[in-house]
Amino acid sequence: MFPGCGNLPAELIDASSSAFSGILGKTSLTNADYTTLSTASGRAVKGVAADGTALLLVRLPIISTTTTTNPKARYTFTLFDEHGQIRPSNEVGAVGHPGVLHNDIVFTGTVETEYGARLDSRVTVAFKAPLDFARGLDDYSTLTRSVFLRVTSEIDGVPPLLVPVIVRRPPVVLVHGLWDSSASWNTFTPLMTKSNRETMNVKWPLFNYGKTDHSKGTADRTFLENAGRLSHYVAKAVAAEAQAERVAVSKVDFVVHSMGGNIVRSLSRIPTSLTVQNYRQGYVHKLITIGTPHLGSPLAQDLIRFENSCTAGYFDAAGMSPLNGAVSDLAGKGDGTALSAALKAMSPVVSPTALLAGRVSDAQMGNMSNFKAAASWICPDDPIVQNFTAAAYRNIVGDQHDGIVPVASALNKRQGEVWGDGASPGGKHSKSLGLLGIGGAPLLDPDGPVATKVMELLNLSVSASEFVQ
């Protein structure tokens, strides 16, 4: 309850509406703007997703204590965590003047600000979502927590008002890779286990893009075509999460395998991915790529060469089609050279992106000669077939690779953790590489080290060293 406002509660309104978008960017607000911010209808919510972008309008109903001779009363808004502590603002969010540019509501150590109340029935401030959800092990397995806006007045004897704001974990969108389906995540435990999807009887906000059968859904389309579909999917996922949980949501955490990373990095080329919903900043809060060929795959490059046309058909018959769409876009040497136009057109790998790579050993490729023998029956004249042995395969993909993607490509030529080679198993690009005679555990192995690492990354601050800064 606030001075003079009776029992009326504070109102939290999702600011991602065209009703407010023209005002939020202004540096100087008119009286009409204030009236709009204070009175225009909007979606009432309980809180925000911790994506660093979602914005609330916090409206406090007041009976004005001002007079024409004393036109202003000042209110101070201070942000606290659920324990009443002032914490680093990355964790609690930020409060600011609704008239400043969205990006100018910055996360500084200062979370206290003052406003002159206007001669309106409400005082309105903007609350920007925290940048990070998890603040350590306490939040590792939870989905929501709370912060509080403490509002004080300069009027003597008036008690402060506490406005609770629910902070929810951002939705996670899984994007599968080439020659695969959304079913590839089914056994990616612990992320996909029931206990992690359901905490406090609330389901973990997981959205698994793509068809569940082993269709050629993504292989038949270019990066751009796939990105267009993904953009629609994410918009619906964000809207569904916002509606179901009554929170403001703008961005998601992407966990992607293989070409899924290329598709997410191509979202920037889709105009519909820059929306009022995400304040035209795109949908990426955090991107975790697993075996993504950021610099292409030389295998893709070889398969689309004219002299290997028979082998291309052989792969197609095996459900690994290199004939349409995606594989041409994936062509690149893996070291940053000979990039396809689609690879060049992707947005840069920027913060916050975590790059995970896998590696297989020669021993794991011991059965590749069986594949060579089988392919030789059908395509004996294709040069690429001669390289389907453990020793010669490096002529295609180099010395260090996960079976398809060179380590340098998966890490975008940066330093990073590489799984595989015995001590840390789980380095094979995908389960389907068993067909090529490549053994060992795949990157998406249940309860494997990559799965564990993904859980850790989802719970780390976006400013952690694990993310490209």
Partner: protein, 264 residues
């Protein structure tokens, strides 16, 4: 480049009516198989031709299955770790004079042998914003413990409570017809779960539901060009010609609520 390659593959793999045809004659497409179970795939060549080899390829198997002697019959095991789902397998062969033949793929559905103890459907609630908007419902079986896996579409059906609000397309995909709320009941044997569906269509052409028609909506509609329309009525097909194309985008630009389709 890719069209040329496709053309080349068609030439190499021969699809002419009078050419030899390679076919998987059994099992029929859609056959349900189980991890650890055995399967026999029979392949024929019509008219009979001397083949150097015939192979069965597919992501379901851990290696290509190869035979060099007729009759081409492949007895094999479904891998124990096969993830439930639908897989395609294809026969491919090379004639002794060097031509490559390829069959039409057949699909095999891998199912778990156990029956789920309960089912879940996702999303738990659906909001549709324009007539014709579609949303697919995924159905999962909970097999106890930590195991939740998709159910094959053969194992469940979806029933609409109020068909005047939404319609059910193939599989378990709903499409909006008119405003209102209803439910879809997902049935799998004695198990069931319910999903709430809300349809709220506002201003025509306001596809993002933000109260106006602007460049965002134009960009959105542009990205759907050449996609099929929803047969039960589709607000993206603004000129009602059965297609989503540049003409619809042109119509939408005349419906913008501000000059030059400005975004507020």
């Amino acid at each position: 480049m890719r069209w040329f390659l496709t053309f080349l593959i068609v030439l190499l793999f021969g699809t002419c009516a009078h050419a030899q045809q390679l076919s998987i004659v059994s099992p029929p497409s859609g056959t349900i198989v189980y991890p650890g179970g055995s399967i026999n795939l029979a392949v024929t060549v019509i008219p009979s031709t001397n083949m150097s080899a015939v192979e069965i390829l597919g992501q379901l198997f851990n290696q290509p299955l190869v035979q060099t002697v007729s009759p081409f019959s492949f007895q094999t095991l479904i891998p124990n770790d096969a993830t439930p789902g639908t897989y395609t397998v294809t026969a491919i062969g090379r004639t002794q004079d060097g031509r490559v033949l390829r069959s039409v793929p057949v699909s095999l559905v891998v199912e778990r042998t156990e029956v789920p103890v309960s089912i879940e459907a996702a999303p738990a609630e659906i909001w549709l914003k324009y007539r014709g908007e579609q949303e697919s419902i995924s159905v999962y079986g909970n097999y106890g413990g930590e195991t939740v896996q998709p159910l094959p579409s053969t194992r469940y059906q979806c029933v609409v409570q109020n068909p005047s609000i939404i319609t059910m397309l193939q599989g378990c995909t709903v499409a909006a017809i008119s405003n209102g709320s209803t439910t879809v009941q997902v049935l799998s044997g004695a198990l069931s779960t319910t999903i709430k569906i809300n349809v709220h269509t506002g201003l025509r052409g306001d596809y993002d539901g933000d109260g106006d028609v602007d460049t965002d909506d134009v960009n959105w509609l542009t990205s759907w060009r050449n996609e099929p329309v929803t047969p039960t009525g589709d607000d993206r097909d603004l000129n009602s010609d059965g297609k989503i194309d540049a003409l619809d985008v042109r119509v939408l630009t005349t419906m913008c609520t501000r000059p030059r389709c400005a975004i507020q």
